[in-house]
């Protein structure tokens, strides 16, 4: 569905008086198979939206090629546009227009007849939980409703490939969870291939078959969430010891199965490969040594741990530093 090779996008940016070339996207290769749901994860300013804009024919790559839905994004951009749906970060409906009108007009720009677009639009409104909002103005809708309206716009021509740019940014947790359901439905009910960008780890984790991580315009990893997490050396096991004097002993026992063991107060923790298998043995070991535990906790690695392992900084730090280094991140959008 998507096959990109060596995509590069450079912008001119001014830093004081000197002009500087910024490589927002720096040699990106991507492969997405039909029917896949792929999460494109990275901190703000990593080049996610820029990559997406190149794949959706909105931005011409400075270098490199991409075939999307079987066509070249530069040479056959019209064919690509016919086949893809794009739900942009900024929304897609005029605040003064009415929801239904926007969806119908959008469908008609894809060559649908007014009747066809209206019928399909009403179906989508039903499926996306937008009852009675056909004649409402987007500015009078809630954030979640507006987002679902954007998705209805992107689906009106029944695309086989849907791009979602930061679909849940700015939504409250309930609206997010609801939107996730609808995004999961895109494949379940329509068999669509979905490519979504996000800087939320849990979102990428919950929705995608495969995760592609981008940082500083380069792909740093692309694999299933489980495989990526397996790259982090194991699960985090935290022991809370009843008798503070025995924490050191507990830590020694933990070291026999764990790496990076640390002690903090009455807690000893370490990274354990395949904790599910190692923990029973560890518990027997502790019991034999007469060390009582208040609690034991096993934490699966998160994508944040993955990001930390791959780039040496946590996703949150990365966000903070890009914001500082590049006050013009908004330019990319």
């Amino acid at each position: 569905m998507i096959e990109a090779r060596g995509l590069v996008q450079t912008f001119q940016s001014r830093e004081g008086k000197a002009k500087k070339e910024v490589r927002a996207v720096d040699g990106v290769d991507l492969d997405v198979a039909e029917g896949e749901v792929v999460g494109f994860l990275g901190p703000n300013g990593a080049g996610k939206t820029t990559t997406l804009r190149m794949l959706t024919t909105l931005l011409k790559p400075t270098e490199g090629t991409a075939r999307v839905a079987g066509y070249d994004v530069v040479k056959d951009s019209v064919q690509v546009r016919r086949r893809i749906g794009y739900v942009s970060q900024s929304g897609s409906t005029g605040s003064l227009a009415r929801g239904g009108d926007e969806v119908v007009d959008h469908g008609m720009l894809y060559g649908m007849s007014q009747r066809e677009a209206t019928e399909r639009g009403k179906q989508l409104f039903d499926q996306l939980d937008l009852p009675g909002l056909w004649t409402r103005q987007p500015k009078a809708m809630s954030g979640g409703q507006r987002r679902r309206l954007d998705i209805a716009m992107g689906l009106i021509h029944e695309p086989t490939l849907v791009f979602l740019d930061e679909p849940t940014t700015g939504l409250d947790p309930q609206a997010r969870a609801n939107l996730w359901e609808h995004i999961a439905d895109l494949r379940r009910r329509r068999g669509a291939t979905v490519f979504l960008t996000t800087h939320y780890l849990d979102e990428a984790d919950a929705l995608s078959d495969r995760i592609i991580i981008i940082d500083h315009g380069k792909i740093v990893a692309a694999d299933t969430s489980d495989n990526l997490k397996a790259q982090v050396s194991g699960d985090l096991v935290v022991l809370e010891v009843s008798d503070p004097d025995r924490v050191a002993d507990a830590a020694t026992r933990l070291e026999s199965v764990a790496e990076q063991v640390t002690v903090d107060g009455s807690h000893a923790s370490g990274r354990v490969r395949r904790a599910a298998k190692a923990v029973p043995g560890l518990l027997r070991d502790l019991q034999a040594a007469d060390i009582d535990l208040e609690s034991i906790e096993v934490k699966r690695p998160t994508l944040d741990d993955v990001f930390l392992t791959l780039t040496g900084r946590s996703l949150r730090d990365a966000e903070a530093s890009t914001e500082k280094a590049d006050p013009e991140t908004s330019k990319e959008k």
């Binding site: 546009r81 003064l96 007009d105 959008h106 720009l109």
Partner: protein
């Protein structure tokens, strides 16, 4: 065919939103009416001085061109807020022709201008303007050409600056010399020679002159030719610029 259909879809959408917010249409209509009734009477006693028997026949054509230019200059502001809403991006991701995206918006601007022009001409006749029908038709066509040019340029400027704050001063900078040097309010012939020569370099002055002479029913002079030439040229240039910005990949 496809191009016309796509332009029509855009046009209909724009028109629908405009009619839903008629305040702007009314403000647009008020402007020429106010000029006509609050400035027109000042010209009446002076008309003889610059060779007109009827002050209104001098004044209405000028108002018409002013309406065409200044109303259209502001057309782009609406586009900036549409761009901010993501509408422009959403339209550009469809297979629709980029020129149609601009054209549909121009049709709306031209329709609005046409209605305003009709009101102005109607009021002009009501207060005593004397002009042959074919002269008025020619004058309105020229006005629509100028209006189309200004609206296209304004849309292009809007997509280039993407900010009301940087667009407003640019428009002001352009508007002042256009207003002062095109002889809309008073004929340039009233002033000293150097000022009149300076105004020769202002394309809009030729257009104002052309609309005036067509309202006088005077089709035989080269004023009309010059004015039409400038109007067509400006229209072509602005269309080219407008289409180029809608086509440009990072607009």
């Amino acid at each position: 065919m496809r191009f016309l259909r796509e332009s029509f879809i855009i046009f209909r959408r724009q028109l629908r939103m405009n009619l839903r917010n008629p305040a702007w249409v009314l403000i647009g209509l008020m402007q020429p009416v106010l000029y006509l009734f609050l400035f027109g009477p000042l010209l009446k006693p002076m008309a003889k001085q610059f060779g007109y028997d009827n002050a209104w026949t001098f004044f209405v054509p000028g108002m018409l061109v002013q309406l065409g230019m200044f109303g259209a200059f502001f057309a782009g502001f609406g586009l900036i807020s549409e761009w901010r809403d993501g509408v422009v991006e959403a339209e550009r991701v469809t297979p629709a022709s980029r020129t149609a995206l601009l054209m549909g918006r121009l049709w709306r601007d031209l329709l609005q201008l046409f209605v305003q022009a009709m009101v102005l001409v109607g009021l002009g006749y009501a207060v005593g303007m004397e002009a042959p029908a074919r002269g008025v038709v020619a004058g309105v066509v020229l006005t629509l050409l100028v209006g189309g040019a200004c609206a296209a340029a304004s849309n292009a400027l809007a997509l280039t600056t993407k900010s009301e704050d940087s667009m407003a001063p640019i428009i002001n900078v352009v508007m002042m010399p256009v207003l002062l040097l095109s002889g809309i309010l008073l004929p340039m012939t009233l002033g000293p020679k150097w000022l009149e020569r300076t105004s020769d370099f202002m394309p809009f002055r030729w257009i104002v002159d052309a609309v005036r002479s067509s309202f006088l029913g005077d089709f035989g002079n080269d004023k009309l030719l010059w004015g039409t030439g400038w109007a067509v040229l400006l229209f072509a240039l602005a269309m080219w610029w407008g289409t180029a910005t809608f086509r440009k990949e990072n607009a």
